[in-house]
């Protein structure tokens, strides 16, 4: 088995979802396996049409700061989260959705982008993924 990166995405903030997807794509691009475990606020980003709907982690200012950063990202030609997610899936990345969060937030599978999700799980799934990982991050 090859080298592996496993990321827990606990945050649903736009900038942190970027961090997770950029790192995960980087890992795949450099020949590693990669998986992202979406939990708590992070899981909200797997709701249909919500991937890029998170606030900014700092200086969101009721969405004003977020808008400004988005404009700057567009100017710098930063890829959209949708594109990063599609690339992640195309390169064989794996998405795990936290079932306990679904229960807490009252979400059913129909609320989520099931086309992206490879596995539904709990802490055991993360540990099993991370057990032999070379890189594991909590975002």
């Amino acid at each position: 088995m090859g080298e592996k990166t496993v990321i827990i995405l606990h945050s649903g903030d736009m900038d942190k979802v970027y961090s997770a997807l950029i790192i995960a794509n980087g890992a795949l691009a450099m020949g590693m396996e990669a998986s992202i475990y979406f939990t708590f606020w992070g899981l909200m980003r797997l709701k249909k049409g919500e991937l890029d709907k998170g606030p900014l982690s700092k200086m969101n200012m009721l969405g004003l700061g977020r808008q400004m950063i988005k404009r700057r990202m567009d100017r710098a030609n930063v890829a959209s989260l949708e594109r990063l997610m599609n690339d992640f899936k195309e390169l064989g990345g794996k998405i795990i959705a936290c079932e306990m969060t679904m229960e807490i937030m009252g979400l059913s599978k129909e609320d989520l982008r099931t086309d992206w999700i490879d596995e539904w799980g709990a802490v055991g799934s993360y540990i099993q993924e991370a057990r032999n990982a070379n890189v594991t991050l909590f975002i």
């Binding site: 794509n25 980087g26 691009a29 450099m30 030609n77």
Partner: protein
């Protein structure tokens, strides 16, 4: 032996790396993949990725007075 050219000029992190990887996945062993880009960090990171995957970088060329680069990889 086929040759594949990908143009990621103007693209920023992590797209040059990702597009390079996508092209390498599609290529057959022995094929040439040529990546054209402008993102400075990718100029050194694409060869790092190739080395990690055991692929041979045949050449790195700077163009347009150092504003563009071209990396030739053998799958």
């Amino acid at each position: 032996m086929a040759e594949m050219e990908i143009d990621v000029r103007g693209q920023t992190c992590p797209i040059p790396l990702v597009e390079c990887r996508k092209a390498l996945k599609k290529a057959s062993p022995g094929d040439l993949v040529i990546v054209k880009g402008t993102h400075p960090a990718s100029r050194k990171e694409i060869p790092m990725a190739c080395e990690a995957m055991g692929l041979k970088v045949l050449g790195i060329e700077d163009k347009e007075g150092g504003k563009e680069w071209e990396i030739k990889i053998q799958r």
